[in-house]
């Protein structure tokens, strides 16, 4: 049976539905002016993290000739 059939249904103020109560932290949304990190023109902090093969990747040392795109996402599972 699907989770959505087991639990109540909830829509948040953005019209998003998820099988979790909207009062949970996982479903609350930041204010419109929430912190979005380094601004345009600022240098980003160093990024040194393992990739999916376990190898450490240094983002700054692997930027392309013009730059790079860094996407922060919720999870590969979602």
């Amino acid at each position: 049976m699907l989770m959505s059939e087991q639990v109540n249904e909830y829509y948040d103020e953005f019209g998003f539905y998820s099988p979790q109560e909207i009062t949970r932290g996982t479903r609350r949304q930041p204010d419109a002016d929430f912190n979005t990190g380094p601004e345009i023109g600022e240098t980003v902090p160093k990024i040194l993290l393992p990739d999916q093969t376990g190898n450490l990747v240094n983002v700054q040392q692997n930027l392309g000739s013009l730059g790079g795109v860094v996407v922060f996402h919720r999870s590969a599972l979602w």
Binding site: M3, G25, P30, A32, Q52, V59, L66
Partner: protein, 295 residues
């Protein structure tokens, strides 16, 4: 998840144009490894399991307390967003979303990185009026998916010798405007192209004006009003795009008019029915093991 699969499909083009691509989450390496092998992801999926980098950027979701959603690693997630860096690691552009479920589609990221015009990748619908004006509507993706932000592309072709006015035109003129109507969609801010100032000496007026081709972009998302996780979904979504405008030539203006294009776009599931299923499975497994409710 869907965004990573879409990003994989644009990663080669990003790379050919001098941009590398990285995705960061607080997923453990193991989860990223399984996902990458299942969906053929070759660009780096970086594991920030303790959210060290996410915290150093100052973008950790502060609304989630440490004891919430432990089974699914909710604590420590970042607000969803994208940085476009130059070759020195300086932010050239960025794009963040207030809602954790929202994300930019692969083609949106590609167009933003390369500064390209976004391309239509869906079927299109068109209306051609008797005076030669054409309104053509398409979408940046072949199909819409829940909370993936695609771009609605409206191409308005103005016949040679004619022009239309842009927003900010004097009151006597009707500037081009768009209205998009339909159930289960959410629209972002309409992006109008730059207009040209047209001076009319006999009227002693200057008005922002469009000639020839006008491409208007509207971010569009299908919402859970139309698609719900874990439920069957409709095959397609219908909406209409109505353009209001007034055509003029050098000497005279037509009456203001409207043209409506009816559009139907396929709806697709996210690449994550398993996201929900994984959630269900993990919750069930942990509950069985601990004998406690963990939701």
């Amino acid at each position: 998840m869907t965004q990573l699969v879409q990003l994989q499909s644009v990663s080669a083009e990003l790379s050919e144009n001098g941009y590398s691509l990285f995705a960061i989450s607080n997923d453990p390496v193991e989860i990223l490894k399984d996902f990458a092998s299942k969906y053929g992801i070759t660009f780096p999926l970086l594991s920030d399991e303790d959210s060290k980098v996410i915290k150093s950027f100052g973008i950790m979701n502060q609304l989630i307390s440490p004891d919430e959603g432990k089974s699914m690693n909710w604590y420590g997630i970042a607000y969803p967003g994208t940085y476009y860096l130059d070759s020195e690691g300086v932010v050239a552009d960025k794009d963040f979303h207030q809602h954790h479920a929202r994300r930019a589609s692969g083609s949106s990221v590609l167009a933003r990185a390369l500064g390209n015009e976004i391309e239509t990748n869906s079927d299109t619908a068109q209306s051609i009026l008797s005076d030669g004006v054409s309104i053509k509507v398409g979408i940046s993706e072949p199909a819409l998916r829940l909370e993936m932000i695609s771009q609605l592309i409206v191409d308005i072709d103005i016949p040679e010798g004619m022009h239309a006015y842009a927003a900010g035109a004097p009151e006597a003129f009707t500037p081009i405007s768009l209205k998009v109507e339909g159930e289960g969609i959410r629209l972002g801010e309409t992006q109008w192209p730059a207009s040209t100032d047209l001076h009319m000496p006999e009227l002693d007026l200057t008005a922002p004006t469009y000639f020839d081709k006008v491409r208007v972009i509207v971010p569009i998302t299908v919402t859970s009003e139309k698609i719900r996780l874990g439920h069957e979904i409709a095959d397609s979504l219908q909406f209409s795009v109505t353009a209001s405008f007034q055509l003029c030539n050098e000497t005279a203006c037509d009456l203001p008019q409207q043209a409506t294009v009816a559009m139907s776009v396929p709806l697709k599931r996210l690449v994550e029915p398993e996201g929900l299923q994984t959630y269900v499975n993990r919750v069930e497994a942990i509950e069985a093991e601990s004998g406690k409710e963990v939701r």
